[in-house]
């Protein structure tokens, strides 16, 4: 506990209105250097191309995920980190198997092929075709209203769309994702044979979007697949006038537990080596697409943020740690393991920043911490506003990131990078999440924004009033 007490003591002893901002012009100049250097010389787009195209989709436990571990390990070694190491974690292995087949059949016998993707973690159909009448529902709670008698043996189709009126698309996602995560588990309790879930995107197109489904304990595991929004609309329209049956075949399966790794690069701090500033993203992705925005962008943001500082000759006072987390998508094994090890060593993360919202134009950061420390830390962080606002960056209160959230008990500040969210769910978890969906300037700006923030935190240590 020593480090935590030290941190708070130092924090409290700092005089309010201390004249540190006499530095502000120098800060602004250095931040300008960070932006110039990153925009002119940043390599993050090239790294992302390798991750997302040469390696491709990197499902935890897959060959591609192994390659990504090796690639980022070697890359960190070449980029000037003091120490680079892998941290073992146990990941759930799941594979999609052969291409899913879904079709619906109308009363007149017409069959309509449906663009689909098994949800991550979904069981398969045992080489059979599962057929059943489709019941369209708009919420998990409608299962209870509809009742077991009418649901047993049927295929539940969850079709509540993301709310297009949410300004921030993550809020719309949050308002609809329960169908994907818990739909199968909940529908199974009422005897459903399988579930189809409307893809989580505000676009209407023919690309299905996968993502994790979670089987709660003591429920029967039934297959769960995402279907495209176009197909969802089509099915819903037909259901207005006639019943439909769906037929589903998927060979997806869980393969038990495998070993994988977080990849960690460290630069020892010159003054406060035991206080850590972490910046990271998750290295794994879904198997379809290239995991370019989710979350290759966050990985290369993190690398570039630190590398830009190193290349400008900056040596951190606090220990910088760049973490490529494994298995965020299907179990969070890497994030949980990292926190477990860190807590076991009594480490203290002064700040942890995660980029896991895509490689779009930066809008700012959202900040989180233990409730009793939040306001003081947030206020300290907002002292950077005069510098950050020149780059159109805003600090808001809000969640940080799935991988760093387990560090909350350490009492430091958790920060989520917030890029523009409008296009994120056009690509998210789909075959479209490829390098061509990422704009190089936008990606570099994200790295520069994160780099600027860690420079400011390192320079002032969150001690400013």
């Amino acid at each position: 506990m020593l480090k935590k007490i030290t941190f708070l003591t130092v924090f409290m002893l700092t005089l309010p209105f201390s004249p540190i901002w006499s530095q502000s012009e120098q800060d602004a100049l250095f931040v300008k250097e960070i932006y110039n250097h990153t925009l002119s010389n940043g390599k993050c787009y090239n790294w992302l191309k390798i991750l997302s195209e040469d390696i491709g989709g990197r499902l935890a436990g897959s060959v591609e995920a192994e390659k990504a571990v090796d690639y980022t390990y070697d890359l960190m070694l070449s980029l000037g980190f003091d120490t680079v190491y892998m941290q073992s974690c146990e990941v759930k292995k799941w594979e999609r198997g052969t291409k899913e087949e879904v079709f619906v059949q109308r009363q007149n016998g017409e069959k309509i092929d449906i663009a689909s993707l098994a949800l991550g973690n979904s069981v398969g159909t045992n080489n059979e075709i599962y057929s059943g009448e489709i019941i369209e529902l708009l919420s998990l709670d409608s299962l209870e209203t509809y009742g077991e008698e009418r649901i047993r043996g049927k295929i539940i189709f969850f079709n509540r769309p993301m709310d297009p009126t949410q300004l921030r698309t993550f809020n719309a996602y949050g308002g609809a994702v329960d169908q994907r995560v818990y739909g199968a588990s909940r529908a199974a309790k009422y005897g459903a044979k399988a579930v189809l879930v409307r893809s989580l995107t505000t676009l209407v197109d023919d690309y299905p979007h996968t993502g994790v489904t979670v089987y709660e304990e003591n429920t029967i595991k039934i297959p769960a697949l995402a279907i495209s929004t176009k197909a969802a609309n089509q099915i819903s329209e037909i259901l207005e006038t006639e019943n439909l049956t769906a037929s589903i075949k998927t060979s997806s399966q869980n393969l038990g537990i495998g070993e994988s790794y977080n990849v960690i690069g460290e630069i020892k701090g010159t003054e406060y080596p035991e206080e850590i500033i972490l910046v990271g993203g998750h290295l794994d992705s879904w198997d379809v697409g290239g995991g370019a925005h989710d979350d290759g962008a966050g990985c290369v943001h993190s690398l570039q943020a630190i590398v830009s500082l190193l290349e400008l000759g900056f040596r951190p006072k606090h220990t910088f740690r760049c973490v490529m987390f494994m298995n965020e998508e299907n179990g969070l094994a890497g994030g949980l393991k990292y926190a477990e090890v860190s807590n076991g060593k009594n480490e203290f993360h002064l700040a942890a920043i995660e980029s896991d919202a895509g490689g779009f134009t930066p809008r700012g950061f959202s900040c989180d911490a233990e409730p009793d420390k939040f306001n003081i830390l947030y206020k300290a962080l907002t002292s950077f506003n005069p510098v950050l606002e020149a780059y159109d960056l805003r600090l808001v209160k809000g969640g940080s990131g799935a991988d760093i959230n387990p560090l909350k008990s350490q009492g430091g500040l958790l920060i989520g990078f917030r890029p523009d969210s409008q296009r994120y769910f056009d690509y998210h978890h789909s075959s479209k999440d490829r390098i061509d969906a990422v704009n190089e300037r936008e990606l570099k700006l994200g790295a520069a924004a994160i780099s600027s923030l860690i420079y400011l935190i390192d320079t002032y240590g969150l001690r400013k009033q």
Copy 2:
């Protein structure tokens, strides 16, 4: 002058700190309605599809521009404007002719084809191939340094790139566009045979970007073409070790003056009908691509901004005027004509808003006015900040728009809509400026932002302190 005096008098008489913001909750609610309605029911993306794909590139004086005039005229009639009319203007007619041919030849005889587009207004090569040694220059002023003796008979290649470190890409564009606009005219004075200009984009790819070139009076008109940034880099690299000749053939030509039209839709104000709030974009575009971002987006933004209010039952106190300006790209005939007619009628534009920076996520607005009225108007406008900031919109000082700038002498506020600028020059004036480069949500958000601003201006008339 009566209207102007009235405006200022009313403005001055308004008490500072008047309690109008007791309305602020209602304003916030109504702005939320505007956003919800536009995001859920906005048609602007469909209109843009028609403009940019069904009609296509709409060079002033072309058949496509005529179709665009007819289409938007009919559209406004169908959307509930009180009055819709066309305003005649004389436009310079120019046509590209058959596809340009440019190649460079190395010392060993190897020919390299160069992706090129004649600049708008450029003369052709009279069915000949113009050949000459290439001289690469990075600025117009280098012409003088290089001198007429070495330039005569050569082909000048202006290759200064857009500065990638500018945060706002329009600033980088502004720092390089002189080469395209004045390069031909200036080089001709030194006897150059033709000019090639590096395309104005921060991307390195093989798409040339056109745009206007201006022949100053009493200079010889020589052909001027844009070449892709990839080709520019290639030529520059070869020139480091050997001389190169370029050969150019283009049949582009000026066809004199034609008639075209601004298209104007009006809704008479209920309380201050003689004070106008204008919102507009320019209907013409370059011939390549579909003019989707430039400036189909601005046209449909303007239409949607007004239509969303009408559909919500809002009736403006001031006269709303939606203007589709003609010929911004090659002479500004529409903007100049509009101001001439307006000034002739002693009209007063309380505010004029132009959207001509693309259909990307809105970031805010930039404000301009006559110097002696600027601060007072800007301060009045910033009183809307509490409402606008909830939508991540910022008001800054800066230029407004080419088409509305001629209205400045009327003394009202000129406002430019500012979306995120990072991707704009990826598409600008190139064959890539098509509907698939526009994101529907981002487009709708832009319309909602403009709609919210005109609602606030109409409600408070810029009179608030």
